[in-house]
């Protein structure tokens, strides 16, 4: 009997309070919370800075390769 009651209670809770549906991966089940949106943009911002630097280094590597081929091979 108590088990049945527990099931009903859980079902009621799942339907009526969204906070119960929350898992620890998002705020109270709301992944469109302003913090979530903010951290997404912060990640994108840092990735853009990183991308700029890495593209620069990539270009530098290719540049070295090009220059290396222009230098006459001695060995």
């Amino acid at each position: 009997m108590s088990v049945v009651f527990l099931w009903f209670f859980m079902a009621w809770a799942m339907i009526c309070c969204p906070a119960v549906r929350a898992c620890s991966v998002c705020f109270f089940g709301a992944s469109n919370d302003s913090s979530s949106a903010a951290i997404r943009m912060a990640v994108v911002c840092l990735l853009l800075a990183l991308l700029a630097v890495l593209v620069f280094f990539g270009k530098f590597f290719l540049d070295i390769r090009k220059r290396q081929q222009l230098i006459p091979k001695k060995m």
């Binding site: 951290i39 997404r40 840092l46 890495l54 070295i64 001695k74 060995m75």
Partner: protein, 571 residues
Amino acid sequence: MILQGRSFLRRCIFSTDHKVVGIQYGITALFFLLFGFCLMLLMRWQLAYPGTPIPWIGQWLGENRAPGGVVLPEFYNELGAMHGTIMVFLGVVPLLVGAFGNYLIPLQIGAPDMAFPKLNMASYWTYLLGGLTMLVSFFVPGGAANSGCTAYPPLADIATAGQTVWLLGMVCIITSSLLGSINFITTIFQLRAEGLTFMRLPFFVWAQLITSFLLLLAFPPLEAAGILQLFDRVAATSFFLPSGLVVSGEPLKVSGGGSALLWQHLFWFLGHPEVYVILLPSMGIVTEIIVNNIRRPLYGYRTMVYSVIFLGLMSFIVWAHHMYLTGMGTALSAFFQTTTMIISIPSVVILSCLFLSLWGGSIRFNTPMLFALSFLPMFGIGGLTGLPLGVATVDIHLHDTYYVIGHFHYIVAPGTIFAIFAGIYYWFPKVTGKRMNENLGQLHFWPSLFLMNGIFMPMFIQGLAGVSRRLYDGGAQYAHAQGVLHLNVGISMCAWLLALFQIPFIVNLIWSMAKKEKAALDNPWEATTLEWAAPTPPPHGNFREIPKVYRGPYEYSVPGAAKDFTPQSEA
């Protein structure tokens, strides 16, 4: 020997010679490694026998840390935070990058010194300053930093003064590694000997190059985070403090509006590449030693180089897998879960190449080789146990448990530290001209291998049972921990025995250094890379004449050659 005809002070203390700086780094970092290890030994007593006085040592810790020899919770937190900080930032990374990188990179690329010798010296002295700052923080009121080595706010924002000292120490260490990494990259790009193209670089140099890029680009966001936390602590801002925070029943008088999420975001942007800062040079060391002791070429040199580049790139975009449980949302979790799965591929490629290299080799089982070989399975265990943690759903259960401790210690303790030992045994003859004792080496290796596993394997069991890693009494309050808490005694026993079996190493190191006679050979391991072509120990300027390079790094057992190894500098 080095820098003849100069005063002792200029020669050995304020030297700009990369070898002296490397040795300074090495000795200092070994001391820090030992110190951090001792902190852990104290913690292990508290975990194995919670609430009982530590025998002998307990009375020396002071009444405000351990009254009657029983460790206080606050002191336990200090031990935990400082163990992590000292081991990673003052022990392992300075050894791998500062000591091995400094000593070996110019030798392996045939350069007379680093590109910026004065910066090199500055890098060591800032590192030492940072290290001493960390040590001093134990004596400020309230003790050292006690918010974990990750310094998570809001706890770290409201912690005792030790946290501010910790931040200042970190700024020194960040500056030091910035100077070091600029120096390393410039050296590798600019000072390679004639004929030493990128695809002829030893794998160790490649690993150090990628590592330096990681240090260069990953540390600054932590510096930014450190500056913001300093603001929080000193200028009472609230970058990391949410509105309406209540501490000990009192609402905190700050403007609010920040979030702990921001700290984690910036901290882990360093934190994850830092793992690869630790790992890549270890792989480099292990590769050098394995390929020398199998007497055959490396399997898949190019594949390994491309893998290590890919590994470096990927390590920048996995950082938020430490933040699955922060509420950052499922979209980011999915992205970072995918990149985390991808990053395991290049690691496995490198590991496979090393394993495949063993096939058909005539293996010499000397001490450095034993340490290097044991790196492979130990890193394998550490890496593979990381995969479940990379899956967001599994991480909900495993997050912040002993499973995580077991996982990353398998990579840094029996993995990386074994690589460091291997490197010390392997390059000791080059540094001093003397060999380390083989019997003592074996006495060091075998117990260490078994005891390391004895320490970290049970942690997986504890973690799977759900025991949290941050508990002062190891989780005695929790019902779900009861079945696995007895393992703590065994783990602690193994840890103390491990300390005992480091004595052969220390004895070996000092005794071998004090030996009178010198190994006459410049190349005792019959290796091919350039550092063995230099005189022993290498003088200021390194080479008798600037070497020229005619071949790849690992030409062992070339058919038709007179010997089973052909040095890179041999025409």
